[in-house]
């Protein structure tokens, strides 16, 4: 049986995807039905439409045959410029064999320009947009002046005849209705500009595209309108002849710039909206100057202003030394402004450091920060990102008895362990431990171990006890392996551990701001989990005790098959998921039955789903919800909470209202909680149960709650019980 998945890998499916995406990619979308709508719009002019489709198939097939990346082909990157070129040519020239030859050549040319620009601009992480189309169509237009066989098409001039030919009376009536609509001039110009992207200079095409754009993205549609009107106002303010705006059909430059800057290449936000509007006058300026300049060789300007401004702006913002969170470039492109936004809102805190080397606390048990970052004493200037740790007794003191002896101090002699895997890169030993109150200012760091975790990531542990270091330079140590004992050597008047991250391999290097991956903070009755955080002064912290059973159950390896029973009120669903890793080294669970995938990361302490793609009625979606964020710990009385990207929890339609204002205000929200069982935890239990719940919030009303009971037995996740409760509370 040939399933969709086998198609996925056989080639037919990506090839079809590539054809469709060549249409939707013009609006930065990868939505198949939006593509179908756009294909339909191009077919309003059937000859042009067919020519466009032909060019798309041709250039994609050529790219395929020449062995280019199938993933890129499937995304439509190599088709949309050929499409635009062919549409343009077919609209302007009378159909003939000569035109066919030109279209074939144009498709090839546009493909090669696309590939070359991808190579050149790709190095700077820049898109090539519709530059290949511009190069192609200008070259062809310039050349065709010498071709006798090609003559200008007159069909476009007699639009009604054309429409009648396609759809008879109804089509004509629909068209008449569309122009008779009581739209203001500006709105009509907006729709015409949208249609002009596909060389359809009429409102009907524009309205259809606008409808498609609405369903593709509310944010994109709102930005297309905003930037269009910004340009409109600019034209009026500068007293430009409005007919230049309306009948030049270059209004789409503003629309596309608005979408590209405001919604697509940047995470939609107030800043991105502001920039989209601010850049519009610049696009207009370039547009008008290009019109005057291109007047000489009699070339249309097309999308040149859009291309120039978008590329300039993206490149310029990439060079920022301090990239701001308010105007953030999209790092992982989901091809939907809403998804980009909702994912970013959650990932900003949740996954920002998820791909870094996890650094743990370098000790066992609960210690207290006696001097934090930017401390009052020595953690200043270049050394400001460091911690001093001590142990406090139940009376809140660092020592017992009178505190006059080193051994009175709770931390003295306690084992210091490696914060992460690494190689010992520097060691200082043999510096005697000071008496209490005395600081050795000549050997500032005292006995020190420096560990290399990565080319530019080192950790340094100082003031260790004399001759307590158990490792030597060049040793490979695992995270949690004992290194030495806490002592009082160097500039240390009382026993404590100095811990810092740095990017160079010496004792005494300047510090590096780097968070502790996961730790427990004991502020109140129950411990609280902190992820990728910096323990602050006087905080009592400990490592998260890892749990072998959970680590085993969640240690998914590629090729592993997971069979989990999903129980919900009265029904049982058996599942079969496979673990895969893709070419980006992202791991995901694949559900063959629903063609869904759930991407995850696991740093040994925490298992997290990062993204879900596919059918929300599937069992995989249930597991995505139930196991969204699982701490692999043997901790008691701990609740881990998190938040979902909105589009993963709410249905697309129910978010339409929220989408429009999402960059500014979020009225909807969601929360995820997982609880760890019992007062204490067993030694390698063969059964474990975790409880998680998901709730949604609209304004202050909690809408729906799903509870999950996750059963772990025999080293794997064996069953998930789900129950839904509806509650209305404020």
């Amino acid at each position: 049986m040939k399933t969709l998945r086998s198609l996925r890998f056989s080639g037919t499916y990506p090839f079809l995807q590539g054809i469709m995406n060549s249409y939707s990619q013009i609006f930065f979308s990868e939505s198949p039905w939006f593509a179908a709508l756009l294909l339909g719009v191009t077919l309003i002019n059937p000859y042009a439409g067919i020519a466009g489709l032909f060019a798309v198939i041709l250039s994609n097939a050529l790219a395929w045959a020449l062995g280019y990346d199938k993933k890129q082909i499937s995304k439509g990157f190599y088709g949309f410029n050929s499409l635009l070129s062919a549409l343009g040519l077919a609209v302007f020239f009378e159909h003939s064999t000569g035109l066919l030859i030109i279209i074939v050549l144009a498709s090839f040319f546009s493909l090669f320009v696309s590939l070359s620009l991808q190579g050149i601009l790709g190095k700077y992480y820049l898109p090539f947009l519709s530059l290949p189309f511009l190069a192609t169509i200008w070259i062809v237009i310039l050349a065709t002046r010498s071709f006798e066989a090609l003559s200008f098409n007159e069909k476009g001039i007699f639009l009604l005849n054309e429409l009648y030919r396609i759809g008879g009376k109804h089509m004509v009536r629909l068209y008449e209705l569309s122009i008779s609509l009581p739209f203001p001039v500006s709105l009509k110009a907006y729709f015409t500009s949208l249609g002009a992207i596909f060389f359809q200079y009429h409102i009907l095409a524009g309205v259809l595209i606008a409808v498609g754009l609405f369903f593709y993205s509310r944010i994109a549609l709102s930005l297309s309108l905003l930037s269009f009107y910004a340009a409109w106002i600019f034209y009026q303010m500068l007293g430009v002849d409005m007919s230049l705006f309306i009948y030049n059909y270059t209004g789409f430059n503003y629309i596309l710039t608005g979408i590209a800057i405001g919604a697509y290449f940047f995470v939609p936000s107030a800043a991105s909206y502001a920039w989209a509007i601010l850049l519009t006058p610049l696009v207009a300026l370039i547009n008008i100057s290009c019109l005057n300049l291109f007047h000489l060789p009699q070339l249309p300007v097309y999308s040149l202003p859009f291309n120039l401004v978008v590329l300039l702006f993206i490149y310029a913002t990439k060079l920022r030394v301090r990239p701001s969170a308010t105007l953030a470039q999209v790092i992982h492109q989901y091809h939907s402004p809403e998804e980009n936004l909702y994912n970013d809102l959650v990932a900003r805190d949740r996954l920002r450091h998820a791909w870094q080397i996890p650094i743990k606390l370098p000790f066992w048990g609960e210690w207290v920060v006696s001097q934090g970052h930017d401390g009052a004493f020595t953690h200043r200037e270049e050394y400001r990102h460091a911690w001093d740790f001590v142990i406090l007794g139940q009376d809140g003191k660092q020592y017992k008895n009178d505190g006059n002896l080193l051994t009175d101090y709770h931390c003295f002699g306690k084992t210091i362990v490696a914060p992460a895997d690494g190689i010992i890169s520097d060691i200082q030993d043999g510096i005697p431990d000071n008496d209490i109150g005395v600081a050795n200012l000549t050997q500032n760091w005292g006995n020190t171990v420096v560990i290399k975790h990565h080319e530019t990531l080192y950790s340094s542990l100082s003031h260790l006890r004399e001759y307590s270091i158990k490792v030597k330079k060049g040793d490979y140590v695992k995270a949690g392996e004992p290194l030495a004992q806490c002592g009082n050597s160097g500039r240390s008047p009382y026993p404590h551990l100095h811990f810092q991250m740095q990017s160079t391999p010496y004792a005494g290097s300047r510090t590096l701001l780097y968070p502790i991956s996961h730790y427990l903070q004991f502020q109140h009755q129950t411990p609280e989990l902190r992820n990728y955080n910096i323990p602050a002064l006087e905080q009592r912290v400990s490592n998260v005790p890892a749990d072998d059973v959970l680590q085993k159950a969640f240690g998914f390896t590629p090729g592993q098959i997971l069979e989990v029973d999903i129980f919900s009120t009265g029904t049982t669903r058996k599942t079969r998921w496979e673990v895969f890793t893709n070419y980006l080294n992202q791991s995901y669970l694949w559900d063959e039955e629903s063609k869904s995938s759930a991407f995850f990361i696991n740093d040994g302490i925490m298992f997290r789903f990062t993204h879900f793609e596919g059918d929300k009625r599937s069992t995989l979606y249930i597991v995505y919800l139930a196991l969204y964020e699982v701490l692999l710990t043997r901790c008691a009385d701990l609740a881990v909470t998190s938040e979902f990207p909105l589009h993963q929890i709410f249905s697309r339609v129910s978010l339409y209202g929220q989408d429009l204002i999402a960059p500014f205000v979020r009225l909807a929200g969601s929360s995820y909680t997982i609880n760890y069982p019992g007062e204490n935890v067993d030694l390698a239990p063969d059964r474990m149960t975790l409880h998680s719940s998901v709730s949604t919030r609209v304004l202050n009303t909690h809408r729906m709650k799903a509870n999950f009971q996750i059963m772990i037995s025999g080293g794997t996740i064996s069953a998930i019980h789900t129950s839904k409760t509806r509650s209305h509370e404020n």
Binding site: F363, W364, E679, D682, L683
Partner: protein, 448 residues
Amino acid sequence: MEKLPFERPFIKKVSTGLPAKFGSKKRIEVIPDIEGIPVSHLMADYGSPLFVLSESTIRKTIREARSAFSTRYPKVQFAWSYKTNYLDAVCRIFHQEGSWAEVVSAFEYEKAILNGVPGTRIIFNGPEKSPSILEKAIMNNSLIHIDHFDELYALMELSRKLERKPRVAIRINLDAGIYPQWDRFGFNFENGEAWEAINRILLSGLFDLAGLHTHIGTYITTPSAYRTATAKLASLMVEIQHKYNHTIGYIDVGGGFASKNTLRGSYLQGYDAAPSFDEYADAITSALINSQIKPEHLPLLILETGRALVDDAGSLLTTVSANKRLSNGHRAVIIDAGVNLLFTAFWYDHNVAPTTMNTDNTEETTIYGPLCMNIDVIRPAVILPPVKKGDHLVIQRVGAYNMTQWLQFISMRPSVVLIDINNKPHIIRKAETVETIRQQEQIPEHLQ
């Protein structure tokens, strides 16, 4: 004018000059209240004698012990030794603090289950385990510590019958360099019996050998003995790994930490002689860390500490019944609590303190219990101020073993009160009445 309190007359040798080798005059500690509640109020409300336990002292002690170990070793688990004090309220405090249960009989096992401890968190020790309770322990997946070969055979039979793999550990006795060597429990390390047992367990394939257990003795004042014992278990663990490629999940070093009570005949006061939790923890954890166990295989360290965790939290409040002068002129006091309630009086010199002190004069006194038995001596000699009938005395550090080993003998057992962390008293065991005792009895028809 208020009447001054009466002080009975006595004769005392006046010592002048420099202090003798026995030191200067002993200062007497006065204990007017327990956790802020006056002793007289407690006794008025709950009767005399009265056992009082302090919840905050229990919690403080277990936290101190836990901190001593958990800052030295990554995986530490305490298991509350039920026999030390199995009053449900006490057990539940320890379970709340994260302790598992360590039981040594079917009775204690049932008690732990009733206290809500999951079977998987019960360590089942002891030389006597009936087939029925073993069966229950196997089904609950409890940690069964095998004491002798006959138990091993019984477990093999049960394992086959139930088709379950019991989770077991073996108890090992070893020479830790101290006297007496407790060799009556478990399998001996030095003579090879331990290996014999390990071989049988692992070759049979019937068991999940989860841990190794030793318990070197009680009231051990030399932490180095624990170092030796732990090092021996660690080496055994490495050898098992080497021979069977089997990783032992935990090492249980048992209990035996000394409390701050003074052993009878000890020259030093218990307060000075008993090592701190830090000293024990340092010995035990450094033996593990410095062993040949690979860091990724470091076992869970289980501690069955009982006495050192609860002794300090308990006090026995008593009332003076009478004063006496013995034949040799020695002063004696009779109180209303005897050795039937204070079993530990046989081996400890319990600190006995008055609740008030109106004088600087003290006298060596013998404290007798109320039993009509010659052995009923609480303290043969203790320095006390003159007390009279109706005065209260507080006997300190009685939290361990007394509330489990006490006897209903001659009189009934009194109430036990727990003072919670907000200094509010709660009865956790009601005083026995005649009816309590009688309801267990049956009278044959011909005697009715």
